[in-house]
């Protein structure tokens, strides 16, 4: 599979994200402009020094093709590729940008993502009126992850309280992040008392609908020495994507207690990055917590703990911002919401700043190696990126 990979061939020399939230008065162009120019400033370059762009956008109504970026930045004719891979759209933009830089085709590239979900109203992910087969049912996003929750409760004896603890942790972290959507702490009781969205997931088990954008600038480690973050650029250790079926409910032997896409993507990434003990070696991870159950299952699939044990570890504090493996120190999707195309880039940007010791929220102490993870569709697509400090 990954024969050689691109480990140590790509460096992140600048990054930025907008504030996330219900940004009714900003358009996708406003958001992209903000994050893209912010990233350029961070890198100490002008937009004209960028050779090629990759843009992660999920919804057709946010924008089609790479021209959305052109109409934002006026890069006048430079190449822009739009990648779409469900919730991994943003991280896949990053992955392809890395390939291009590692191949030597371009010197400096930008990977960014954006989504304007609120343009379709705020009640849940839109599109279900038009996506999918005429009659074969397409459950809502919460409903799909509910299948996991129901099965995990049945098999591991997990409870709603176990789920709620994730919400409590992430909102606690998000409270300290200036750019998060939600800045409140939530108690276990509040989380348990919230109205149902898709049994057993209640309102606090689900990340909210929001808008936002994030961008990263990449180049080779050799060239990285000549930009603003010459001393502390971040190295890309691994990029992986893994794709499984879009309709897991037709997979006869699927167990609904783990996402094969995460398991496979993690294995590929750890191999490329030469990580042998993820729990010990990964200092922090921004993990896809679209729903509380997702974070728990992900931690197991990413090998941060044994199967069935994630709730226990959450309880013990293993995944706290200052725990053994900090999971979602930024506050995760729970605090930021999930403007789909942008989330992967936001996570990578977050991990980058953590490794550079300039996290905007909770700073994970001694962060040397970080991981970003997305899981999208009906747990069909997973992206994992591993980054480290330059030495």
């Amino acid at each position: 599979m990954v024969r050689h990979g691109i480990k140590d061939k790509v460096a992140i020399i600048g990054c930025e994200s907008t504030k996330y939230g219900e940004l009714w008065d900003k358009s996708q162009k406003d958001l992209l402009f903000e994050s893209a120019t912010g990233a350029c400033e961070d890198a100490g370059i002008t937009k004209d020094e960028i050779d090629a762009f990759w843009l992660g956008v999920y919804y057709y109504f946010t924008g089609l093709s790479g021209t959305l970026l052109e109409d934002t930045l006026r890069v006048h004719g430079k190449p822009v590729t739009r990648t779409e891979n469900y919730c991994a759209s943003g991280m896949d933009a990053f992955r392809n940008a890395c390939s291009a830089v590692a191949s030597g085709a371009y010197d400096v590239a930008m990977a960014c993502g954006v989504e304007k979900i609120l343009d379709e109203g705020g009640s849940g992910l839109p599109g279900f009126k038009i996506f999918g087969h005429p009659v074969l049912p397409l459950p809502s996003a919460p409903a799909q992850f509910c299948f996991l929750a129901t099965r995990c409760f049945h098999e591991f004896g997990w409870t709603r309280e176990d789920l709620a603890r994730v919400a409590v942790k992430n909102h606690e972290n998000g409270y300290y992040h200036p750019k998060s959507h939600f800045k409140f702490k939530v108690s276990l009781e509040q989380a348990l008392a919230a109205p149902m969205i898709a049994d057993p997931l209640g309102r606090y088990d689900c990340c909210a609908v929001s808008d936002g954008s994030a961008a990263l600038i990449l180049t080779t480690p050799e060239l990285a020495e000549s930009y603003a973050h010459a001393d502390d650029y971040v190295l890309v250790k691994a990029n992986s994507i893994s794709v499984f079926t879009d309709t897991p409910w037709y997979w006869p032997s699927f167990e609904f207690t783990s996402a094969p896409a995460t398991v496979t993507a993690a294995k590929m990434a750890y191999k490329e990055a030469e990580i042998t003990d993820p729990r010990k070696q990964i200092d922090l991870a921004e993990v896809h917590d679209c729903f509380t159950i997702t974070e728990l299952v992900n931690c197991q699939d990413l090998q941060f703990c044994d199967r069935g044990k994630a709730p226990e570890e959450v309880k013990k504090g293993t995944f706290n911002w200052d725990g053994e493996t900090a999971v979602n120190p930024s506050g995760g999707l729970k605090s930021f919401g999930h403007p789909i195309g942008s989330t992967g880039c936001r996570m990578i940007q977050e991990v980058t700043k953590q490794l550079q010791g300039r996290a905007e929220g909770r700073q994970v102490p001694n962060a040397k190696i970080g991981l970003a993870h997305n899981l999208g569709g009906a747990f069909a697509v997973c992206s994992v990126t591993v980054l480290s400090q330059r030495d």
Partner: protein, 480 residues
Amino acid sequence: MTIGITSYGAYLPRYLLPRKLVSDAWDFPQVPGTKAFASADEDSLTMAVEAGLDCLAGIDPKSIDGLFFASTTQVYTEKESAAFIAVILDLRDDIITIDFTDSLRAGTTAVCRAVDSIKANKDIKRILVISSDTRKPEPSTFWEFGFADGASALLISDEETVPLSIEDYYSISANVTGPWKRMDKDKFIRTFEVKMDAKFYTESLVNVMSELMKRNNLTPEDIGGAAYSYSDPRAFGKIAKILKFPQGAAQNGMFLQVGDLGTAMPFMLLIAALRRPKPDAKIILAGYGDGADAILLQVQDKKALRDLGKTRMGVLKHQKSMITIKNYNKWIDDKKLLEKDRYIRKSSAVTLWRETPSVYQMKGIKCKNCGAVQYPMMFHSCYECRADNQFEIVKLALKGTIYTYTLDHLVGGNYYDTPVPRCVIDLDGGGRVLVNMSEIEKPEENVEIGMRVELTFRKQHEGGEFHNYYWKCRPERGRP
């Protein structure tokens, strides 16, 4: 070779409306009993499929040479429902299909014409006749007490021996003063004068049934059972008196609990009569509507009839799983008597047509390499062993066990207080499907992993401006 009825099937919806709720809603005099009514996702076509499946249990659908569908509540006025039902039941395409409509005796008329077709054509030996109705009564009229929903089916065949033979039939035609329902103008049934309706009903049925007996040299004492449609128990009783049928011969047991099933009534009454068939009994099956048909049947094989009763849901098994509702508004809502805006979505007719075996016929594929059964059929590579293009087509069971599920409040892009239960089901014998669940009360308490469910054919939505149908699941009602 004899022509007769070799199988039967029926379908009664899950819900019963107590007539007391109607009386209370409008301050009408109290009327006893209940009546069956269909869920919001049912119509004449979906119920016909259920009755058809019941009738064909254990019978090879490819052996059927025709399908006649009788209903006064056709779902399309241009687009043949019989052809569609035939596809869902997996019949061949070189068969005869006809929609019989516009009259409440369409069912019995269809039986007569089925016999004619079999007699006239040596290639036609078996015709499935299904009758079904979901008539909407105008609220606050007396019809609200009677109109009910249901479907029933009879298999008319030409065989060496048959359990119930068709001996003779006789029809008259009449242009009466009512009731009627104009196309494009009337939402509900109207009539000129209810007394005249009763007069025509009585006269026509007396006419055809007495003529039938006369032609066959029968006296009233010879009649073991009489299954003829009715909406007014009194008029029904009057006919039995005029014709001097023996005590218990006229089938009047269903109105109290089930109501007036319209076109589906005569077959349903016959099926009820066959619960305890007397050997050699002569039975009259008759239908009324702008004239009348009377059909003379003779019990030939009592045991065969009893066996049918064991292997079909028929009337009794459905009745066992019917529940009485407590809220009049559910009746109004389910019947869409108040038009409520559901979400609109788009749809692709060609996709549905192309996927007929998966979507309508619940066929799946079995991997020849590892044996895994999969659904739907669009896959080229096996889920389990990833072998390419090594599939054979298999028919999936219509019942199974819940593997996991969710109660989804977000439906079609909107939030609803009442969730839609969506269930991942492992079907008996293989194949895993995802379908929505219907007819479940208190889903938060009653749906669980390991629950047994049956697949049922239902309306899904009106995307693309046509009726979109697919399967849902329901708690077991006992389908064999």
